[in-house]
C-alpha cells in the first residue's frame, strides 16, 4: 500500500495515450488492433487502482467484464481480418479504400 495511486493512474493514462496514438498512426490492421488491447489494459489498470483506493470490490469485478469483452472482440476482429485478407490474397496496394464516392 505504499506506492501512491496517482503513480498507477498516470502510468495507465500514459499507456492509454500510447495505445490511442498508435491506433491512429499505424497502418497495419493487426497492430492497430493490438493498440486497442493496450488501451483496454490501461483501463484495467485504472479500474484496479481505483478499486484499491476506494476499498471497493466493484472495480475489480469490472476488470472481469473488460476481459470477457476484450476476448470476444479479439475473436470477432481477427475473424473479420482473416475473412477479408484471405479473400483478397493477391491484393497489395489498393486495399482499404474502395468505399468512396
Amino acid at each position: 500500500m505504499s506506492v501512491p495511486s496517482a503513480w498507477y493512474l498516470v502510468l495507465a493514462a500514459v499507456l492509454f495515450g500510447l495505445g490511442a496514438t498508435g491506433l491512429l498512426i499505424r497502418r497495419n490492421v493487426l497492430v492497430m488492433f493490438m493498440c486497442i488491447e493496450l488501451m483496454l489494459n490501461a483501463v484495467n489498470l485504472t479500474f484496479v487502482t481505483f478499486s484499491r483506493d476506494l476499498n471497493d470490490i466493484g472495480g475489480q469485478v469490472n476488470v472481469f467484464f473488460v476481459l470477457v469483452v476484450a476476448a470476444a472482440e479479439v475473436v470477432v476482429g481477427l475473424a473479420i481480418i482473416v475473412a477479408m485478407f484471405r479473400r483478397r490474397a493477391a491484393a497489395t496496394a489498393d486495399d482499404i479504400h474502395i468505399l468512396k464516392g
Binding site: 497495419n28 493490438m34 466493484g58
Partner: protein, 216 residues
C-alpha cells in the same frame, strides 16, 4: 501479495521498498512494451512486445493485491489473446505485411499528434493531483477485511453483478457465430442447397482443389 508477505516478515521499510521496486519494474515493462507495439515494424515483434506490456500490467495488479486478476490477466491475455494474434499473423503471412494495411484518413496523423499532445498535457495536469479518487468508498463491498480476494470477487459477481455476468454469455454466442460466419470457406446457402442435388455437390467438392474455396 508479495508486499504483504514481506511486511509480515521483515518490516515496513522493506515492504515499502519492494512495492516501489515492483511498481518500477512493472512500469518499465509496460512502457517498453507499449512503445514497442507502437513503433516496431514487424507485427510479430509487436505481438511479443504486447506480451511484455501484459506481464507488466499483471505485475502492477499483484502490487495492488489483485492477485486473482493478475492470474486471469496472464491466462487470458498472454495465453489466449496474443496466441490468437500470432496465429493470425502467421496465417496471413508476415511477409505480406504491406497488404495488411489500412489507408488512414487524411487528417489522421496530424490528429494523432494533436491528440497525443492534448493527452500529455492533460496527464501532466492531472498528475499534480495527489488524490484522484474522490468517490464514496466501498459501495459494492469492501476490498479489505476477512476473506480472500477470490471469495469477495465471487460474491460480488454472483450477487450485484449477476446480470452483467449472465449477459456475457450473449457476447460469447456472438463471438462463436461470428467466427463461423466469417471464417468458413464458402458453402452453398440454404436456398442454393435446396436446389442442388446432394450427390452433385459432393462430386463437385471432390474435384475442387482445396485451396480455392472462397476466392472470388
Amino acid at each position: 501479495m508479495l508486499a504483504a508477505l514481506l511486511a509480515d516478515s521483515s518490516g515496513q521499510a522493506l515492504a515499502h521498498a519492494s512495492a516501489w521496486a515492483v511498481f518500477a519494474v512493472g512500469a518499465a515493462m509496460i512502457l517498453t512494451g507499449a512503445l514497442g507495439v507502437v513503433l516496431l515494424r514487424n507485427p510479430v515483434h509487436c505481438a511479443l512486445m504486447l506480451v511484455i506490456t501484459l506481464f507488466g500490467i499483471a505485475l502492477e495488479f499483484i502490487d495492488q493485491s489483485a492477485d486473482f486478476l493478475a492470474a486471469v490477466q496472464i491466462i487470458v491475455y498472454a495465453g489466449a489473446v496474443v496466441i490468437l494474434f500470432l496465429f493470425v499473423i502467421m496465417f496471413l503471412g508476415v511477409d505480406r505485411k504491406e497488404a495488411i494495411s489500412a489507408e488512414p484518413t487524411r487528417f489522421q496523423r496530424p490528429l494523432a499528434v494533436l491528440l497525443g499532445v492534448v493527452a500529455l498535457v492533460e496527464i501532466l495536469a492531472l498528475s499534480r493531483i495527489d488524490h484522484w479518487s474522490a468517490g464514496t468508498p466501498s459501495q459494492s463491498g469492501a476490498l479489505s477485511g476477512p476473506g480472500s480476494n477470490v471469495q469477495k470477487l465471487g460474491q460480488a459477481i454472483y450477487t450485484g453483478y449477476l446480470l452483467p455476468f449472465e449477459m456475457t454469455a450473449a457476447l460469447l454466442v456472438i463471438a462463436v457465430v461470428a467466427a463461423v460466419v466469417l471464417s468458413r470457406r464458402h458453402q452453398p446457402s440454404a436456398s442454393e442447397m435446396s436446389e442442388l442435388d446432394q450427390e452433385e455437390l459432393l462430386s463437385a467438392r471432390r474435384f475442387t482443389p482445396p485451396d480455392q474455396g472462397d476466392q472470388s
